[in-house]
């Protein structure tokens, strides 16, 4: 393990570690982003379907019916 701490190697070890951590964070964020988009889209679709045109009823009074 000490070879990883040698002056010439340590900087590559540090860079590789930082890159691996970043790739992990990036993939995690991408997954969360996709999941969030899915939930938001499904919610929007559900909201739109429940907001569909409500049934209408026309009340006609007796007077206007006679006319």
């Amino acid at each position: 393990m000490t070879i990883l701490l040698d002056a010439g190697v340590a900087i590559y070890v540090a860079m590789t570690t930082a890159l691996i951590v970043w790739v992990g964070v990036f993939l995690f964020l991408l997954r969360i982003d996709h999941a969030t988009q899915d939930v938001a889209r499904q919610l929007n679709e559900r909201t739109i379907s429940t907001d569909a045109t409500p049934p209408r009823a026309t009340i006609i009074s007796n007077d206007s019916a006679r006319q």
Partner: protein, 321 residues
């Protein structure tokens, strides 16, 4: 994981930050006096700047909330404050690692360290306030007002307070053109003793030969540990020549001005890293890092804001954070 429309920008951001990481280690040259520890500045400073931007955005949405009373604005304010807090913690941690390597301690109550800690506490109180009020409308209103006050203190804590101090280990002159690091003045006939950062300094003598002006200054580190005599010099052209190191530290004393006839000098601390950005490769990687971390902050903010808005739609008034 299948890619989707719109992922192109995110993948570009991912590659951009990966390139910044690569450049930080293998493109940016070592800076004299800092060694490889200096590379952390490529992350530390941009993250601190983006913290400011995130807290400002949060305050703007709080103002919008108070004006229009739309819960979505409050959700945006929370999301931005959370990103700002995350970045602020990251800046503090990277700064502490740097301090341990370069200055010999993780935390030394430097003015800028102290002010960022206060800022962290102020925003921690913002989240504590939000979680302590049950009524959602009241919570949003109180939090919005508090957030605006918190944002007002931020420029003072980040930009003014550290510069009011006589000196700081942070090289203010490194990044901002025209910023002042004036140091402190000492006089053989007047004020011999002064405080430079957390170090007490005392002017003992001032001599001038043909090519060199020498000031003999006794320094006492905090707790009266490491009393030493340093002899910074000015060359014949009036420029700093010898810059001795403070005992047990990696920062130096620099003689900025000296007037042997009047017996006065002006001295300062010089942290390693001053004028770091004069190297063009360092400058470009630093700018790229700023853009990368700004983009990442926006992405984080966007995700968090969407989650909060979904929560708001599902359970109006029940957004607990």
């Amino acid at each position: 994981m299948a890619l989707r429309k719109g992922d192109g920008v995110k993948i570009f951001l991912g590659l951009w930050i990966a390139a910044v990481i690569y450049s930080m280690f293998l493109v940016v040259p070592q800076y004299v006096g800092l060694g490889d520890a200096g590379r952390i500045i490529i992350v530390h400073v941009p993250v601190a700047w983006v913290t400011t931007a995130a807290f400002c955005l949060s305050a703007i949405y709080s103002i919008i909330y108070l004006w229009k009373r739309t819960p979505n604005s409050d959700a945006a304010a929370v999301a931005a404050a959370e990103v700002g807090m995350l970045y602020c913690i990251f800046a503090t941690v990277t700064g502490s690692i740097f301090a341990e390597v370069v200055w010999g301690t993780f935390w030394n109550w430097d003015p800028r360290e102290t002010s960022i800690l206060v800022l962290l506490l102020i925003y921690a109180a913002y989240f504590a306030l939000r979680s302590s009020v049950d009524d959602s409308e009241r919570r949003r209103r109180l939090a919005a007002v508090y957030n605006i006050f918190a944002a007002v203190t931020m420029p003072f804590l980040l930009f003014v307070a550290p510069r009011i101090a006589d000196s700081t280990l942070h090289p203010n002159c490194a990044f901002l053109q025209g910023s002042k690091c004036e140091g402190v003045s000492l006089s053989l006939t007047g004020a011999k003793i002064a405080q430079l950062g957390d170090v007490v300094i005392e002017l003992k003598s001032l001599t001038k030969s043909d090519a060199l002006t020498q000031a003999t200054i006794e320094v006492r580190m905090p707790g009266m540990k490491n009393i030493a005599t340093l002899v910074p010099t000015l060359d014949g052209a009036g420029k700093p020549a010898d810059r001795p190191e403070f005992p047990g530290q990696q920062f130096r004393m620099v003689l900025l001005e000296a007037d042997p006839t009047a017996g006065t000098v002006r001295v300062n601390m010089q942290a390693p890293g001053t004028n770091l950005l004069s190297n063009s490769r360092t400058l470009w990687v630093f700018l790229a890092s700023n853009l990368g971390f700004l983009g990442l902050a926006y992405w984080l903010y966007h995700i968090r804001r969407t989650i909060l808005q979904v929560q708001l739609t599902l359970t109006p008034g029940e957004m607990t954070i």
